[in-house]
Symmetry: none
Subunit: 217 residues, 4 copies
Amino acid sequence: MNAVVPNLRPRKSPVQARSAATVDAMRIAAIQVLTQEGVSRCTTTRIAERAGVSVGSLYQYYPNRDALLAAILETHLDGVAGAVDRACRAHRGRSVADMAAAVVAAFLAAKRRNLQESQALYAVAAELSGAALVARMRNRIVAAIADMLAHAPEADFDDPAMTGAIAFSAVAGPTRILLEGYAPAEFDARLEEQLILLLTGYLGARRRPAGGAKRGS
Amino acid sequence: MNAVVPNLRPRKSPVQARSAATVDAMRIAAIQVLTQEGVSRCTTTRIAERAGVSVGSLYQYYPNRDALLAAILETHLDGVAGAVDRACRAHRGRSVADMAAAVVAAFLAAKRRNLQESQALYAVAAELSGAALVARMRNRIVAAIADMLAHAPEADFDDPAMTGAIAFSAVAGPTRILLEGYAPAEFDARLEEQLILLLTGYLGARRRPAGGAKRGS
Amino acid sequence: MNAVVPNLRPRKSPVQARSAATVDAMRIAAIQVLTQEGVSRCTTTRIAERAGVSVGSLYQYYPNRDALLAAILETHLDGVAGAVDRACRAHRGRSVADMAAAVVAAFLAAKRRNLQESQALYAVAAELSGAALVARMRNRIVAAIADMLAHAPEADFDDPAMTGAIAFSAVAGPTRILLEGYAPAEFDARLEEQLILLLTGYLGARRRPAGGAKRGS
Amino acid sequence: MNAVVPNLRPRKSPVQARSAATVDAMRIAAIQVLTQEGVSRCTTTRIAERAGVSVGSLYQYYPNRDALLAAILETHLDGVAGAVDRACRAHRGRSVADMAAAVVAAFLAAKRRNLQESQALYAVAAELSGAALVARMRNRIVAAIADMLAHAPEADFDDPAMTGAIAFSAVAGPTRILLEGYAPAEFDARLEEQLILLLTGYLGARRRPAGGAKRGS
DNA sequence: AATGAATGAGAGTTCATTCAT
DNA sequence: GATGAATGAACTCTCATTCAT
């Protein structure tokens, strides 16, 4: 993914069955190559080869390499953001502890569902156009969390957006360690419980008794 | 940084003053190129040119491009890890709240001290060999925090390593957002305060009254 | 148009009305693409798209891209050569001045009639197989002019073929400038008059009084 | 040479002897490839191969393929324009017949001096960026001729620029036929004499007796 | 007949790395 | 030691052409 920002929109949508298969094969292939070779060795040739199609086919669906990677990243992020979004909507009006548990569970489940994909895409997200996509999806999640917090019955957050941003990224940080694969098994086992603890603690501290003074922590 | 992992050690240590100056010039040049052009366009030629030396000279100090980037990343990570390490040592035996404040302050200060560098190196860290370096420095920081927690007078953590790992990465997550440059000004202003809140809450919840049962979360 | 010269003949003659329409649509499309994108970007896909047919259909009528371009060029050249040919036949036995005026007028009119086409095809004519077609049509025109000159009543040209060749290409040279689009408006306005002057002068000088000595210029 | 107009300036001037040799080898190689394969098959790889250097070297001196071809064309055109220019300056104040002979001789000699080069570059000149270069050099030649005509003692041209433009392109037209290689030997032998005849006739007709009425042809 | 997805050779271009100067 | 011209493998992307539908 380069610094210049060209067209990253897919070229055409796969309407025929054959096309859909091709597009999906390329997605899976790209993730595999990303995992096994790293971003810089994740070339169009290798992706096509792995997918069992020709390079030409790749370029029928994406204007360039970056667009392919961006599309995969975007789909992934959409999935994650959607999952968290749904969890937030489903837990409006519940207790802060419930909210924390719900967000953590939804996020972790979404990431764990496509483990390899989640791992592979960190490198893509680090590149320029990837960072923008990540920022967008983060905004979406933060907005969902903030909205949920704003309607918390037992508490009154003075700055739900800020609180949501910190809350989400505080959860995303440790999750990343897990996905990067350098964490011990125990980390994996206890991550969810610890993240809930982390979030509950933070949201509990951030909360003011309803009707309390502004910014009173 | 490629997937194949060859020799990444610098070729010679800069014993002479001139060498040290050259090495530093290359480091600064690399960070600038990284920032302005992105990882994929951060070429040896461009780095050398920017540093005012010839490509040949660059190869006098590093066996290949990856070694150069790895060295820069390592130096950076060492600085950050060292800062947190010192803060931990300096706050042994203090209250949990003091510890939280100290770690957050040290980490944020280290990252903010070399803002551009911190930003530029995220992309380097995302590549395969970078991830290993990051994991190593994280282990060092986590060990320092765990050690500090293990000696907390007012509390008794059942698994300081796990707690330290979660604590550190929970702080690193939001910090990354800040550095990636997509955060609003208010985020910047209130980040430290919020991270302390986050950490204090987590560590407070994790703590058991001295002498309590194991693993009672 | 490539150096290798394979089959350049159209695959089938457009006997049906629909075929004729398709072929013409492709011709027009090709000229548009040629003008807007240049020869090297004048691809079969683009031509077909512009013509509103599929690439497959294009290959139903022409064995390859070069054949399509060659056919268009040939049609164009035929039109021009035919126009000059007719003018020559129509002015047999007239005065040299009349002949000059007639040739110039016919040639310019033919080129101006399909201005865009004339411009676009220069690039096609410059490629290897195009040059051969141009040479053929030039021969035809030169023969027509030579024939006309041979029957001039008031004069006796010692080498009508040579004279015709020089005459025609001397007219074609300035015309090309006009078509290439770099000429000022005044050039356009006065071109015909000047070309007639040019030709009249040349043919007048070349002419020997009937029965005069050979090669007396 | 594509429609988009990027940087066509050479990258660096060959200061060292080795570099100069490399650049010249590429020029000669390009002309050979152009002649033997045609523009579209005149690829950077083939040029480099023929020149006995690597593709990389080619790109050290020119930012892209078009720049290389443009540079060759420009050098060639400069040579031709310079020759005609000198001839014009050297024949100021001479008779119109002398002028005509001088211009024709200079132009033909310049073209014949580098026969293969002249032939090969027609195709390059037909592409977009080539056409612009040709137009520039033509303007230079036309200006030189016009200036010479303006100082003709025996005559008074009402529009030297127009006259010069017609005169030059009338000479260039037949010359092109010669260079394109489709002309018979006799054409070659008699071309110069015929072109002088052509030009003398035209300039003679265009001239008005000094002090005569405007536009009296 | 028509379509257009798929093909894959091949083009332009870059860049890590070497080595003669 | 320093230089930077030369190298050439490897990369991204295009496009003429085919053929299953």
